[in-house]
Symmetry: D2
Subunit: 313 residues, 4 copies
Amino acid sequence: MSEKLFSQSTGMFIAETHTEGVTWFFSVDRFLVEGKSQYQQYQIVDIPVWGKTLFLDYKIQSSLLDEYVYHESMVQPAMTVHPNPKKVLVAGGGEGATLWQALQHNTVEKADMVDLDEELIQWVKVHMTEWHHGCFDDPRVTLVHQDARKWIEDHKGHGYDVILSDLPGPHEGSPARMLYTKEYFQHVAESLSDDGVFVLQSGACNETYPYLFSQIFATLDSMKDTFAYVRGYYGLVTTFQMPWGFILASKKHDPMALTQEDVAARHATRGVSNRYYTPRFHQAMFTLPEYMLRAIEKHGKILTDAEPFLWTA
Amino acid sequence: MSEKLFSQSTGMFIAETHTEGVTWFFSVDRFLVEGKSQYQQYQIVDIPVWGKTLFLDYKIQSSLLDEYVYHESMVQPAMTVHPNPKKVLVAGGGEGATLWQALQHNTVEKADMVDLDEELIQWVKVHMTEWHHGCFDDPRVTLVHQDARKWIEDHKGHGYDVILSDLPGPHEGSPARMLYTKEYFQHVAESLSDDGVFVLQSGACNETYPYLFSQIFATLDSMKDTFAYVRGYYGLVTTFQMPWGFILASKKHDPMALTQEDVAARHATRGVSNRYYTPRFHQAMFTLPEYMLRAIEKHGKILTDAEPFLWTA
Amino acid sequence: MSEKLFSQSTGMFIAETHTEGVTWFFSVDRFLVEGKSQYQQYQIVDIPVWGKTLFLDYKIQSSLLDEYVYHESMVQPAMTVHPNPKKVLVAGGGEGATLWQALQHNTVEKADMVDLDEELIQWVKVHMTEWHHGCFDDPRVTLVHQDARKWIEDHKGHGYDVILSDLPGPHEGSPARMLYTKEYFQHVAESLSDDGVFVLQSGACNETYPYLFSQIFATLDSMKDTFAYVRGYYGLVTTFQMPWGFILASKKHDPMALTQEDVAARHATRGVSNRYYTPRFHQAMFTLPEYMLRAIEKHGKILTDAEPFLWTA
Amino acid sequence: MSEKLFSQSTGMFIAETHTEGVTWFFSVDRFLVEGKSQYQQYQIVDIPVWGKTLFLDYKIQSSLLDEYVYHESMVQPAMTVHPNPKKVLVAGGGEGATLWQALQHNTVEKADMVDLDEELIQWVKVHMTEWHHGCFDDPRVTLVHQDARKWIEDHKGHGYDVILSDLPGPHEGSPARMLYTKEYFQHVAESLSDDGVFVLQSGACNETYPYLFSQIFATLDSMKDTFAYVRGYYGLVTTFQMPWGFILASKKHDPMALTQEDVAARHATRGVSNRYYTPRFHQAMFTLPEYMLRAIEKHGKILTDAEPFLWTA
């Protein structure tokens, strides 16, 4: 019997249960920050292989391993689809990477970021430079700490070209709960310009939990008078251990109409150079797997303020 | 303090460590079979949400949740790419689902399956009917328990139209180790017909572990005189918690040359109806993410009998 | 990065949560039996270092490592305290080791064992010989599968010399719930002889969960007219990862009055040879730590059929 | 399917593997401090039920739940056995509780504490007041950060009445390795007064890992010319999830010769009031279970500088 067997220095972990079937134990080498704000628990930690990683309420948010996959997927298709995005709004987006991605388009003149949790963002500024690259100091940026729904209701007619919704899921009790309903999407539409584009992170794009994606899709798809084009797509986020879904709702411009060459041309003009969302990959990203089409068919129902999302299918 | 807090009936688990960063604890409701053959440890278990699941050497192999995603990805592109597959070989393929997928093409006249582990397959026959659908009894099938490399060396000139390699990864000490080398691929080529197609499962297609995929790709890609077309693709296997890679090496027929309509026509003629690999999805599946292209560039090296795969990058 | 780091063959586990503070993951090498009877879930498994081990409802019951510590503690003090135990009853005692321990005293003429779970005991007979040593076939033994409380109510005046209660804890919903109340203890007294001895396993004897022990103690201690001597003691059960408590209630004979020499003499006469409960250890075992005395003071309350044990303190 | 089942906020853990058989996952509510000094990794955390807890190299050291059990066991028997302890040395003892326990005896005029790890003790001073009660500021105390063996070698003839060794186990590579050998114990003897008492924490006192205890015992027991009385005893430390062993080596005074009344008298005179080591408990604590006596017989061998402790039995 070896020393190792008697009392091994095993280590620190953050565990996340994903469905009844599996719990992930992430190994933590160091806790850079660990605390609880008014809104959520947060940890910024070092994980072997994954590198620096943010957890909120013990759910993994992004890691240095491939935060670019998540954030390019979150931002770049919507920015690219709009022919000339000048005014941009980020709802949520704590790490600052969503904001940074948007600012890569040199067309942008004004970028507002509305995130509730000031305490978290103070820590992000200190520890997550690799995400935000200091862009909170960009003169085009206004950072506000308040409820994003209220901000949007207060900015009707403001004419945002692109609104990027990078919020936590609509968990029961979450302040984000009412940012996934038809009424809210109507407010979004009214604060967008006439050819505005809206995109939101929409949860898992896999076989075990396609419910949130399906219902956001069905809800936006029921607003065809407002959003002429509603398209689902996904990013291969290793950090999340599953493909991650996004839904893009556009008043005038259809993402599927953009060719590889169109994407390449816009990126070249605007000084954008991506590592995941490349021109070659555009069409493939918007090709949803069959199981998601079946899930939309089967589970799609319309989310409203009166009946918001329930994790129960 | 509640009873639950004192001594909760927590349960049974199978754990798999995937890189130093994370360990997955799968909850097990029931063990249907648990044992150790001459070659490996095996469990057939029930997992909540995932359903019946096979583990070999504590690595998850496939589950009822989406075995069809893995097995259609494993089999259907290669079968579809060949214009008239009559003679098929499955190397490995313990669950019987790879064999079953191949037999869906009514062109098939003869299907040989060579899997080392007779003990495991006895249990598969009893407990995994949802995978093999009784196809071991199909009159076109010959099931042999021996080393697949030896079988292939003994069948040079046999003229297989499609060879499907559904083997465990080349772990040190594994009998499958020498079934991932250039010399072996040369034997494969010689047992294929003049327009034969070879495909093999090739490991993770994600950011954490792209090494195996990259090196198989580089090895086959160095054999251009033999395999005119070498194409990587992936399936979104929820059970594996990551996209899974496959590499198709073809003497004459280029998968990328097949249109959606071509795929649809072949499936219709041959009586094939898929749930994941549909005509619509063909091109998207063959579009690898950028990080895999970078990994091939960076980590691609040629695997040989003298220097087979090492998990060290 | 080594193979081990990519996908280590980690293994199988049974996990038991003990208070909110800690969960134990026991490594399982083999599942000998795994199933669910009418009354409980059960597993007989091999654990490294601990050896063969029984779990009921995912709570560890005993292991080859030191089942003798638990079962000698359960049985030997009560048997030794009685001057001439002829008629013995085991309530519960699934592994058969409690019965076997009692039968070591050559004074025993009749030993009844009443355990509800016939299915479990069938498996015990096959796989746990090291516990029961075949004693179910001893001509002195009667094995009955029914509720122990009913048996005892039906045997008033039967004159058992010793009653050994080796039952699961009074979890909500457990059939054992009503075998930890004052009314039940009164029935026990009536089925005992005039100088009968009763002992029951009474849960953890540690700082985190002294509640069950304290309340059983208080309940029996409130019955001084019936049981002149009520004494708590404990065994150092490594398998349980905590000291384990027992309470002995005796109509006439005080355990504390027995000297080391008395114990030695009785064991010699009766052919008993113990590995844990030795004459030398008798007095020390009955010396409860201060924290248990404080817990009895603080948490002791009387358990009745109307208000049975609640895990809530 | 409920929200809870999809992605439960599971939490943070520190895991410690204890033999190949079991790994403990301690739930962590908060990390008060987490870091790595020159000598070891350390965490001071909050654990439900256990309260504030110190880990060193991922091994649990003590918790508010019952640090008094460990530290009274560590200190009080030796202090009590000496008839008039004036000069005391603590080797190690990072939390400051060993020092504090010794200072409870009003006979003490001088207490030296020698602990290598200054960084750790800085944090202990801030976060672990419940352990040390500010006693580092007691005018009788000298705190030195150096190797305890060197200190003791430099203090031969110093005439310590009591030396308390509260060090980490002799893990390979640990600075404490050479503080568990016969040569070191000889140095200890020379720095003690003529009737001095030495005690050291000696590891697990259970069935799975009795090796360290057995070998320390055998080593001291082989020095009968120096230490007339060598006595093993144990404390019921819930935090450690096993009984914990200590060995007391005394030049003149036999612990077993002290009656309950003797202990009570000394405590009364010296103003000592314990919660675990009470007069009533003295004799029981020194009564080792049979399995430890068997282990000493079987595994006891003499530890020397040339052949120090190996975890291999």
